[in-house]
Amino acid sequence: MREELFMAGTGGQGVLLAGQVLAQAVMEKDLNVSWFPIYSPEVRGGTTTCTLVITDGLLGSPITGHPTTMLLMDGRAVDQHLARIAPQGLAVVNMTLAPRLPSLPDVKIVTIPATDIAITLGSERTANMVMLGAYVALHPVVEIDELAAALDVLLPERHRKYLQLNVRALQAGADAAQQAT
């Protein structure tokens, strides 16, 4: 098994944290994992991406030219990155912020209204967890409760009060993905 997951969005959307939560949960399952971020120089509002490689074998390159899976948080991320997804790849797209999609015959695209769901739950900022929940429903490398345990490790002290909200967002994302497919 080798999964090359690419996540992209705008600074402040929590792309990096979502990637770290997944990496932490994967590590606890004794799999090999790498998490590698790229951000633009501006602290807020620039493009942010991270790449995770998840494998039960030799990890090798943490970099990939053609990711097998993409989680794309908005239209800019779709425009900039979707074209280089691997053939037969899976793309999960936040359709609240990316209403128009190109047609790629070889790619499975699952659209999730992640930001709408997050707003309904009470915080727009949990859209990252909605997307992550959707991803693990479609590609079950870890369970939702394993992500919840990882969040418990990684959430900074000042954000601990949002732990349950984030777990609800993970579950809501998983539910939405099941409905969408």
Binding site: M27, V33, W35, L58, S61, P62, I63
Partner: protein, 358 residues
């Protein structure tokens, strides 16, 4: 075995130094290594250590010089433009024969360049240590775990040769997270050595730390002594790792993050029926020339992959001495070579066939 924790390369480097008994850090902020000084600022005080933010890299490396002369396990870290500024101090450290560890998380250049990953400080690292006949013993880890482990080994090597050791990595290794197994933090070794300054000098001959030798013969003698240590390092502290086919037609040579990329590419090429082997130097100076020469006599071609404009490949060609063709695949400026790029190149090279005369 200890539990694995998810750490950034920068954090693993800093924690690895503390675990190895480093208690003094002097540095100046520069991306992409800022998590090292931040980690040191937070965690060195826990173990009675000193973190100090210098006014420049010039000052930082000279603080390191002073602390090393006083007998401390001491470290600084920076990225390419900052390492340029440290060359003067490194030259004094070489000449005065004191040990220290310098971490360079290389970024794109020249000039201000960018904060993307690069390996374009290969010459600066392996030929560097500023003016004069000195060089930096240079080691290039390729994972978060290796950063943690090698920064500790670097102190031992530095102290063995009373010389600066550079840990050379890049913006990817610095910022990526991977699981890492940590050791308990070791106590630092005693400050007093026969050559250190400080403490009570009334009980011994006074010590002088100096790189000024006006007498030409004396200076030459010092240079020969320093070179002899490099020769000893070539025997005792030469490190490289090989993986892949045992009877390769193509040998891939890469270090650091490029070697990570090549590991995947070599695996894929072997699966596609092209017999490839990866030779990954961990020590860049000393360089595994003899081992490369052995392979050069056996393989059809050599592929060098680096994130610079043909710096590392020169050392490979010097070792190969024309025994077989050496090709270069490279990106620079913050761009990376992907496993797909390397795999395609390997398949193309195999298809071209005749390399050496046969």
């Amino acid at each position: 075995m200890s539990k694995r924790v998810l750490l950034r390369g920068n954090e693993a480097t800093a924690e690895g130094a503390i675990a190895a008994g480093c208690r003094f850090f002097f540095g100046y902020p520069i991306t992409p290594q800022n998590k090292i000084p931040e980690y040191m600022a937070q965690h060195l005080p826990e173990v009675g250590g000193v973190y100090l933010q210098a006014e420049s890299e010039l000052a930082a490396i000279n603080m390191v010089y002073g602390a090393a002369a006083a007998g401390a396990r001491v470290m600084t870290s920076s990225s390419s433009p900052g390492i340029s500024l440290m060359q003067e101090g490194l030259s004094y450290i070489v000449g005065a024969e004191v040990p220290c560890v310098v971490v360079n998380m290389v970024r794109g250049g020249p000039g201000l360049g960018n904060i993307g990953p690069a390996q374009s400080d290969y010459w600066l690292a392996t030929r560097g240590a500023g003016h004069g006949d000195g060089r930096c013993l240079t080691y290039a880890p390729y994972s978060v775990q290796e950063l943690y482990d090698w920064v500790g080994k670097a102190f031992e090597i530095a102290e063995r040769y009373r010389a600066p050791v550079m840990i050379l990595a890049d913006a990817i290794l610095a910022q990526m997270m991977e699981p890492c197994r940590l050791r308990p933090r070791a106590e630092p070794p005693p400050l007093d050595k026969p050559w250190t300054i400080g403490g009570d000098s009334s009980t011994r001959h006074r010590n002088i730390i100096n790189s000024l030798y006006v007498d030409h013969d004396e200076m030459e003698e010092v240079n020969r002594r320093i070179q002899a240590r490099y020769q000893q390092a070539m025997r005792d502290d030469l490190y490289y790792v090989e993986s892949g086919a045992d009877d390769p037609e193509i040998l891939v040579v890469a270090y650091g993050i490029s070697a990570r990329v090549c590991e995947t590419a070599v695996e894929r090429a072997n699966q596609a029926g092209v017999r490839c082997r990866l030779l990954r130097p961990i020590s860049l100076f000393p360089f595994p020339s003899a081992r490369l020469a052995e392979w050069a006599a056996q393989v059809r071609r050599i592929l060098v992959v680096e994130l610079s404009m043909g710096q590392f490949v020169e050392d490979v060609r010097l070792a190969v001495e024309g025994r077989c063709p050496v090709e270069l695949l490279n990106r620079t400026g913050g761009n990376v070579v992907t496993p797909e790029d390397v795999t395609t190149k390997l398949l193309d090279m195999a298809a071209e066939r005749p390399g050496r005369n046969e």
